[in-house]
Structure formats: structure tokens, C-alpha cells
């Protein structure tokens, strides 16, 4: 009996490897700089992670369905630029839905290509990364977009407001994480996403519409990107065309750090959130330690590998891999 409980503890720990890694890093950073774990700093980190985080939520769906989305960074630039531009032209009330509609169209296009036409998602989204960047440049004429009247608009609430003492971006992130977390874990759609990613053929043989499922994953991803763009635009009320550049790999890193497999079929929203927080706090912790940015690069490398290693080592119950 005693061994059984020990085993149970072991298997509980094994499931939470990434959480343990997270706690260890938090403790280490707090020891290194006591200011790390102050309310202000935690809020500031989570607030700026919220943008990455919201995108990562959507990409979690795409990755679990067995695909990739490398276009989220440039799509986020697109929605940020569009909503800022439309803000002054048609007012924030209309600008937000218009921007969501346009971003969702892009998502639908990708979803159509990958889901219905079954084109390779890596290349499709890599292509879209470039194409959407071109689209954004054409749209904006390459210019920065800024809201004319920065003080007078309620639009800033999404990025700068607070409610109940908590910054709104954090609230949005939490709300979306809860919504999407439930969707993935508890609804029939979530189940289908896992099935399609785990074994697409078997899912088809079970009557699951594979193409439609993948399509909706990209639509969810685009909706998340649009939300992230909204927060971003509202946070700075002005933006460059490249605001999201390079985020695609950070987003993917967060998702994978959370334990989703690139092969599809595994991962959870909760773990993605942990992955996002790990990345956010690493960056912030290293900044607070005042390390040179290039040392930060190297340390981030080591931490990412250690975190994932710990996670899978806990799962397999052995430190070293069994690969001969």
C-alpha cells in the first residue's frame, strides 16, 4: 500500500514537471533579487506577458490539432495597425469589430488551406508570415500608426485600464484562458481537437470532421491574435508595423515549454499558461539581475532546455533518455 501511494505521488509529480520547474525558477529569482516577487513587478510581468499569452492560447489549439502557426506574429502586427488606423477613421466602436473581422478572415484563409486543402501548415503559415507582413506594409504605407487623441479615448482601457485593482490585460488573459481551457478540456470540440491531432485517420474513421476541426483551430488562433492586437494597440495607442515580429517563435516556445507535443494530440491550456509565465518571468528576472542581454540569451537557452527536460524526465521517471 505504501508503495502505491509513493507511486501515486510520483505520478502526480510527473504530470506537473513543468510546474515544478516554474516554482524552482521563481524561488531562484526571488533569492537573486527580492524585488522580483513584489506585487508591482508580478503585475507588470503578467501584463506584458498577456499579449504573448493570449496568442499562445490560440496556438495551443493549433499545435494540439497537429499543426503549426508561424503567422501569429505578423498577423498581430496586422491587427494592431488596422485597429489603430480605423480608430481614428470610424471610431473605436466600429474599429474593433472591423479589425476582428479582418483578422478572422486571415485565420479562415489559413484554416481553409491547412484544414480543407490539407496543405502543410509549416509552409502555409510561413508563407502567410511573409504575405501578411506585406499586406500590413501596403495597408499602412509602412508608416507608424498613432491615435491622434491619446488622452481622450476610452480605447486605452484594454491595455492600460484596471478593474478591481487588476490590470485589464491580465483579466482578459485570465478570462480567455479559462474560456479556452474549458473549451479544450471539457467540450466535444476540445475532444475532437485532441483526436484529430493524436491520430487524424482514426478521428476520421470515428466520424469527426477533421477539416472543420482544424479550420476552427485556426479561427480560434486568429481570434486570439486579434485580441492580442487589441491589447497591444490599446496599451501603446500607437504602433510600428513590426510590433509582432518574431513573436511566433516565442509563442511556440511557450506552448512547447508547456508540454504540448509538436506531433499533436497533447498539451493543455493550463500548461501553456505556465509556459508563458516561465518565459515572461525569466526575461524579467534576468533583466532585474542586470545581466547583459547576451547572457540573458544564454541563460534562457539553458532554462528552456532544463524546464522541458525536467518535465519529460518526470514523465518517464528517468533522468536520461532511453534512446540508445
Amino acid at each position: 500500500m505504501a508503495t502505491l501511494t509513493k507511486q501515486q505521488i510520483g505520478s502526480v509529480l510527473a504530470k506537473q514537471g513543468i510546474l515544478i520547474a516554474f516554482v524552482i525558477f521563481m524561488i531562484a529569482f526571488t533569492i537573486a533579487n527580492p524585488k522580483f516577487l513584489t506585487m508591482d513587478n508580478v503585475f507588470s510581468v503578467v501584463r506584458s506577458s498577456a499579449i504573448l499569452g493570449v496568442m499562445a492560447l490560440g496556438v495551443t489549439f493549433v499545435v494540439i490539432s497537429g499543426n503549426l502557426d508561424l503567422s501569429v506574429g505578423s498577423m498581430m502586427s496586422f491587427s494592431t495597425i488596422v485597429v489603430l488606423d480605423l480608430h481614428d477613421k470610424i471610431g473605436p466602436f466600429m474599429a474593433i469589430p472591423a479589425m476582428f473581422a479582418m483578422t478572422l478572415c486571415l485565420g479562415a484563409f489559413i484554416g481553409f488551406l491547412v484544414g480543407y486543402l490539407r496543405l502543410n501548415s509549416l509552409i502555409v503559415t510561413l508563407g502567410m508570415l511573409s504575405a501578411i507582413h506585406g499586406l500590413t506594409l501596403t495597408y499602412s504605407g509602412g508608416q507608424n500608426m498613432d491615435i491622434a487623441d491619446k488622452e481622450g479615448t476610452w480605447f486605452s482601457v484594454f491595455g492600460q485600464g484596471t478593474a478591481l485593482g487588476i490590470p485589464v490585460p491580465i483579466l482578459i488573459f485570465i478570462a480567455l484562458a479559462a474560456l479556452l481551457g474549458l473549451t479544450l478540456a471539457k467540450t466535444p470540440f476540445g475532444r475532437k481537437v485532441y483526436a484529430v491531432g493524436g491520430n487524424g485517420t482514426a478521428a476520421t474513421f470515428s466520424g469527426i470532421p477533421r477539416a472543420r476541426t482544424v479550420f476552427f483551430c485556426y479561427l480560434i488562433s486568429a481570434a486570439c491574435v486579434a485580441t492580442a492586437g487589441l491589447i497591444q494597440a490599446s496599451r501603446s495607442l500607437g504602433s510600428q508595423n513590426t510590433v509582432g515580429q518574431g513573436l511566433e517563435l516565442e509563442v511556440l516556445a511557450a506552448v512547447i515549454l508547456g508540454g504540448a507535443s509538436l506531433l499533436g494530440g497533447s498539451g493543455t491550456v493550463f500548461k501553456t499558461v505556465i509556459g508563458v509565465l516561465i518565459l515572461g518571468f525569466i526575461q524579467n528576472g534576468l533583466l532585474l539581475m542586470g545581466l547583459q542581454f547576451y547572457i540573458q540569451f544564454v541563460v534562457t537557452w539553458v532554462i528552456i532546455i532544463l524546464a522541458v527536460w525536467l518535465d519529460i524526465a518526470a514523465k518517464r521517471g528517468k533522468l536520461w533518455s532511453a534512446i540508445a
Binding site: 475532444r191 485532441y194 491520430n199 474513421f205
Partner: protein, 503 residues
């Protein structure tokens, strides 16, 4: 047999997985020139024991001896170096590579500069393929072969090295009779060379035909070893499952209902042509033929996975178009596919979720999946089909092959279909469960289901069917009733000889 030294001896082997004691103090030995059967129910631990022997798993306790020497199988490489050849239960092939490369995987012959010696490789492979009498050559891409031929490639590996012991883990699960004959020839050649052979199978007739001794496992525990000539099917079964088996064909006499499924003149290119048949409620129709006869393709068409070029499908007398599995499911058709790993299961998902996958949209409480209802369904079919698993949370990929198959069957039974199509339903299933499944199919028919059974096992088809459709090369050669059918006439019909062409 007593004074000869065993080629292999396993001593008190223990192996546990999280939540499962797969092997519990198992001892077992094989003599040179002996065909030693290993039997047991699904999940008894046969494959696990062999993987310990093959160096794929490390035992938690016990020892392995070869001759007098204690050996440690640190990995597949060591096992192979020590002369142990392992033909796996699940196909273990690289589909993109050629037959020759697969047969010699891990030991391709080399020339200078690390080059592959293609000449030698082809030569050696062709020699083996000739012995096996197969219809493909060394250069064929393995992915282009049928499952049965892929199995022959696996088997060919047994002939590549000077083996001391060869393990066959259910080699015949997807072979046809002709190929089985070849396999048995191979085994008797090996035997003549003094090689020790371990043979795992659930098929009694094979066991009695080719093996010398039989060891039995139950729930990871060693039950004993008997001489094949001294035992009977019944006593073996009793050792394996701990009770007697009821082999009678029950529920066979009941009224047939209306025609549930009718197919008229269905054709699909080269795959099958002009296929017409009917299945009534309460009827089990068996489809028998050689591999490649086109039966699976017909099933796939009925299930909306393949478009027919011409012909009609009628359900309850009404012509329907079935464009997708969702369509088929909605119209009450279920298909248990032939390839459980590729088509039947999401291996990384747990048992419960796999089982309820097709109906997940209907099992809801508000916007969420009703997990309680799911567990209830799972429990019901676990009990009904005797599925051995520590619980519904277990990943399906960790179940034994036979138990995986039962999950697939449970999944489709739980849909309460009006037309149930099962393609090779008992592949890899132990005797006990097999008879349970046969009984179940009969019962379902009695309850008014229309059942189509596709099988390459003649006894199975004969046992469960009310009528038998014999197919050859995409065409229906003849339809037999259970009263008129004989083994000979069936074999004639499916080999394209004689047999009048009846609808």
C-alpha cells in the same frame, strides 16, 4: 528432452508498469530445435516477456540464461548479437524504405566508404524472398505492400542471421492461409537447424499443428508448461482463462427482419465492381475472400470513406448517399476498421475517450462533455467485453494488442448501430474473448441488428454467419447459406475457380 541444454532460460522474471504487474516471477525455457508456444489471454504478459528477452524492456527482477551463461540484454542490439531474432506483434517497419532495406535494417552490408553493398543486399534478400515465395521483390517500397505482405517482410527477418532463438509474436494475425503455409515451412526449416522457436498465437489449430510444448501465462503469472501432444484445447483454455469455454453457437434461431442494407451494382474502379448484396435485420452476413479481394473497400464505401463510381446503396429500402463517416454514423452504420492502430484508435488518448469518440457530440451536459455518462459507457463495455485495463484513464497505447481491439469494438457497439460492419474483428484476440465476440455478434443479430462480418479466418466466418459472401478480385463469386456451405466450395469460390457467379 531432459538432458539437452536449453538455448534460453528465463528465471523468475518480474516486470511492472505503473499500475500493472505485467510479469510476476515468470520462468520459462526453450530447447534447441523446439517450437515452444506461449499462450495466454490478451494482456497476460506474453509480449512483455518477449520484449524483456529481446532487450527492449529491462526486467525489474530475475535473470536470463543462454546455455549455462547468465546474460544481460541491455538493448535490442545485444539481443541480436546474441542470436535472438524478434518478429514483433505490431509491424515494425520503415515504410519509405525498400523491402531489402527493411529486412536487413540495422545490418545493411557495407562496402568501402560506408557504402551499402546493394548487390549483395539484393542477392541475399532475393534468396530469402524466394524461400518465402512472395509476389514482391527486394526493391519494392514497403509502404506499397499490403498489411499481409508487410508481415511477410517482418518474417523474412528471421532468416537473415544465424539465429539461436527466434520469437514470433502473433505472426499470423494478418496472414492468409497460403502465407501461413509458407511461414510454417520456414519454422520447420529453422527447427531442423536446431534453432529454438518461441511462438505466440491465439489460434489453437496452429498451436496444435506446429508446436512441441506450450507454456501458459495468466495475469502475468506462469501457469505451467505442457507437451502439446498431451493436451487438449479445452484444458489449455481452462489454464489460460481459469474456466470452461462455451463454444456453442447460441441465439442462432430467430426471425429475420426486413432488409436493412442493400447494395446494387456498386463499382469503384479496379477495387471492386458490380457488387450487389442484402443484409437483413437479425442476420449476420460473412464476407470471405483473399487479401485484396476488395471487401475492406466496400466497407469503406458504405461508411462514407470512399466514393463509389456507380451503383446504389439502400438503407431500409431507401436510396441514400453517404458522403462521410458522420453521414454513415448518423444513419446508424458502424464500422470496426481492420487496422486498429492506424484507423481505430488515438493511441495517446485514454480508453474512455477513445471509446466515446464518435458520440462525443451527443454525450453532453450543457456545453460540456458529460464525463459521468462516458465513464458509465466505458464501464459497461469493459465488463461486457472483459477489457483488461487498470482503469479508463490508461492510455490506449499501453494496452495489450487484444485489449486495444476490444476498445474499438466497444466504441462501435456503444453507438447501437442498425448496421454493424466489422472488418477482421478478432485479429489478435484471445480464444476466450474471441468466442465472447462471436457470441456478441450473434446476440446483436438476435436483437435485430444487421451485421456484416469481414474476416479472413474461415472458422470464424463459418461460425458466425447466416450467409457467406465469397469474393474474389473485387467481385462477388457466390453467396452461400450456412446450411449449404462447405469448406471446399468456399475455397473454390474465393480462389476464382468454379463457383457460379451469384448475386
Amino acid at each position: 528432452m531432459t538432458d539437452a541444454k536449453p538455448v534460453l532460460h528465463l528465471d523468475n522474471i518480474v516486470k511492472t508498469f505503473p499500475g500493472v504487474r505485467a510479469l510476476d516471477d515468470v520462468s520459462f525455457s526453450v530447447m534447441p530445435g523446439e517450437v515452444h508456444a506461449l499462450m495466454g489471454e490478451n494482456g497476460a504478459g506474453k509480449s512483455t516477456l518477449m520484449k524483456v528477452l529481446g532487450g527492449i524492456y529491462q526486467p525489474d527482477g530475475g535473470a536470463i540464461y543462454m546455455g549455462d551463461e547468465r546474460v544481460v540484454m541491455a538493448g535490442p542490439l545485444e539481443a541480436k548479437a546474441k542470436g535472438i531474432v524478434f518478429i514483433h506483434q505490431e509491424l515494425s517497419l520503415a515504410e519509405e524504405l525498400s523491402v531489402a532495406e527493411n529486412i536487413y535494417l540495422g545490418e545493411l552490408p557495407r562496402k568501402s566508404f560506408g557504402r551499402v553493398d546493394w548487390g549483395l543486399l539484393t542477392e541475399k534478400t532475393n534468396a530469402i524472398l524466394k524461400k518465402l515465395n512472395v509476389g514482391f521483390d527486394a526493391r519494392t517500397r514497403v509502404g506499397d505492400l499490403s498489411i499481409a505482405n508487410q508481415q511477410m517482410v517482418e518474417i523474412a527477418r528471421a532468416l537473415t542471421v544465424d539465429a539461436k532463438a527466434v520469437i514470433f509474436d502473433e505472426p499470423t494475425a494478418s496472414l492468409t492461409d497460403a502465407e501461413k503455409v509458407v511461414l510454417f515451412d520456414v519454422i520447420s526449416d529453422l527447427k531442423a537447424d536446431g534453432v529454438g522457436i518461441i511462438y505466440i498465437s491465439h489460434r489453437m489449430e496452429e498451436i496444435f499443428k506446429i508446436t512441441d510444448r506450450i507454456s501458459i501465462l495468466r495475469d502475468g503469472q506462469y501457469q505451467g508448461t505442457v507437451n502439446t501432444s498431451d493436451t487438449t484445447e479445452e484444458s489449455l483454455t481452462q489454464m489460460m482463462i481459469g474456466r470452461k469455454l462455451d463454444l456453442s453457437r447460441n441465439a442462432s434461431h430467430h426471425e429475420l427482419g426486413d432488409v436493412a442494407l442493400e447494395v446494387r451494382g456498386l463499382s469503384c474502379g479496379k477495387l471492386y465492381s458490380d457488387v450487389s448484396f442484402q443484409v437483413r435485420r437479425g442476420e449476420v452476413v460473412g464476407f470471405y475472400g483473399l487479401v485484396g479481394a476488395g471487401r475492406t473497400e466496400i466497407a469503406e464505401t458504405l461508411f462514407g470513406l470512399r466514393d463509389a463510381h456507380s451503383g446504389q446503396i439502400l438503407l431500409d429500402g431507401e436510396e441514400v448517399r453517404i458522403n462521410s463517416p458522420a453521414d454513415a454514423i448518423q444513419r446508424g452504420i458502424s464500422l470496426v476498421p481492420e487496422d486498429r492502430k492506424g484507423q481505430g484508435l488515438v493511441l495517446g488518448m485514454n480508453c474512455r475517450d477513445n471509446m466515446t469518440l464518435p458520440q462525443v457530440d451527443d454525450l453532453t451536459a450543457g456545453p460540456f462533455v458529460a464525463e459521468g455518462a462516458e465513464v458509465a459507457i466505458f464501464d459497461q463495455y469493459r465488463d461486457r467485453l472483459d477489457i483488461r485495463t487498470p482503469g479508463w484513464k490508461q492510455q490506449v497505447g499501453n494496452l495489450s494488442g487484444g485489449n486495444q481491439q476490444k476498445i474499438v469494438i466497444g466504441k462501435w457497439l456503444s453507438m447501437h448501430p442498425s448496421v454493424l460492419i466489422v472488418d477482421e474483428p478478432t485479429r489478435g484476440i484471445d480464444v476466450g474473448s474471441k468466442s465472447e465476440i462471436h457470441k456478441l455478434l450473434r446476440e446483436l443479430a438476435a436483437q435485430g441488428y444487421a451485421v456484416m462480418v469481414i474476416s479472413s479466418e474461415m472458422p470464424e466466418v463459418l461460425h458466425v454467419s447466416d450467409r457467406i459472401v465469397a469474393m474474389y478480385s473485387g467481385r462477388i463469386m457466390r453467396t452461400f447459406t450456412s446450411e449449404e456451405v462447405t469448406e471446399d466450395s468456399l475455397i473454390q469460390a474465393i480462389s476464382g475457380l468454379g463457383g457460379d457467379k451469384a448475386a
